[in-house]
Symmetry: C2
Subunit: 264 residues, 2 copies
């Protein structure tokens, strides 16, 4: 089978045998898995030591490295892409060292027993598509109010008014109050009626003009008519766009976490 | 060898063969690796789809699940510990479904070709010790000013004064200004002199009493004498304690990231 060309599996190899396979995999920029008894030293802006235990080491094609314990979804040690690797054996202990320059950080993984070495060239060009929840759409608007319209300013969100909670409540460029109701799917009549109730409740108190904007990926024609009849507006917003905005922000957050180095 | 008892490796198995091994591994709460061509659907508070590609699936003993692409240090899909798994084959496609109840979330991984299935019982009780950097010690004090002393309040940090930047600058319970200099290792004479310079610079401007506190894991006796001579104080602080404080906070941040589900 052709798979054998791209996949090397060593079960319970000797250290010398494992060293050879690991060096080859790293130099060929393959994705590498090593499972065995290891200990880990991390030195950089912080410092950590992980005592002996059986774990999974993953080195990816891009030079990122992860050490996973048998429990917990977070890696116990890691480095982002771009590491340079050095593999050597001393007194029958295999040392895999991953080094980064900026900031200067190194992770050393020492194996004295290896259960599995597996190196493979993975083909992966599949696209990842993310669709946001209503909550995510709300968050995205809070982060970037211009998603609703230019010059929109947030006053509050989840604002309690008599019939329930207004998703987003703000003020438009020309100073008018704006009540925003968000739907993740095609907006139906229920959403319009809900929005109209909020507007009524707020108009009663605010004694000034209040705009109502229904935000959704799209809207049915008859619902559009009802909206117009009630003097309300529709703003098309793709949940995926919101998801991308949040993803960027979350990625920054995760990146910040990983870059801290403090949890190593 | 006894390893074979705890390790099962299938290379290029048929789907039916893989299904059997995966079911067994999951029911026995082993750590499971599956490498192959897959696509992933996530549905929960958000929704995502990952198109076909070759990836690494990890299911851990605690019921956490991770899908790793050949690049990037973050998992593309994941769920925290406590998932319930369902494994089945339909039309020669193996589906591994991980479900959580609160919040209701499911990750479905579909494999149509499998290169490796590996199940093993990893023994890992090794302790993880984290030692903080000076920056981490500073952050910990900013997060919990009482680490310095009861009633300490932060005014600023990295405050520029003539000779450089003060690590932490605050006010004590009795209203006196406090300049804090942090060292990660045993504090030496240089640190004391540095602190004395900051105090002088601030006294010159503030025209009020200024306390200087050197924070470090410990201090040499002769340095302690110099400190006393200059009217400065020493506060012992274990970098590990700071690291633990940050680790908890970072863990919460990462947990928040993972729990968001928006980056799936």
């Amino acid at each position: 089978m052709s798979y054998y060309k791209s996949l090397n599996v060593l079960v319970n190899p000797q250290i010398a045998e494992a060293e050879k396979a690991i060096k080859e995999a790293v130099s060929q920029r393959k994705t590498l898995l090593v499972i065995g008894n290891c200990w880990v030293h991390y030195l950089g802006r912080a410092k950590s030591k992980l005592e002996q235990g059986e774990r999974i080491l993953i080195i990816k094609e891009d030079g990122s490295i992860l050490v996973h314990r048998p429990v917990g979804y977070e890696p116990v040690n890691w480095q982002p892409p771009g590491c340079i690797f050095n593999v050597q054996t001393k007194e029958n202990v295999l040392e895999i060292r991953a080094v980064r320059q900026k900031p200067a950080e190194s992770v050393k993984v020492f194996f004295d027993q290896i259960q599995l070495v597996s190196a493979f060239s993975l083909r992966d060009s599949g696209e990842f598509s993310l669709y946001a929840s209503e909550e995510d759409m709300q968050k995205a608007i809070l982060m970037e109010p211009s998603l609703l319209e230019e010059g929109f300013n947030i006053i509050s969100y989840e604002k309690k008014v008599e019939p329930g909670f207004v998703d987003v409540y703000g003020i438009s460029k020309d100073g008018r109050l704006v009540v925003v109701e968000i739907k993740r799917k095609v907006a139906g009549k229920d959403a319009v009626i809900q929005l109209a109730k909020y507007i009524d409740a707020i108009k009663g108190k605010a004694n000034r003009e209040v705009r109502g904007v229904l935000v959704a990926p799209n809207i049915a024609k008859d619902v559009q008519r009802l909206l117009a009849t009630l003097g309300l507006e529709f703003k098309a917003l793709d949940p995926r766009k919101c998801a991308e905005i949040l993803k960027k922000s979350e990625a920054r957050k995760l990146e910040a976490f990983f870059k801290e180095g403090t949890s190593q």
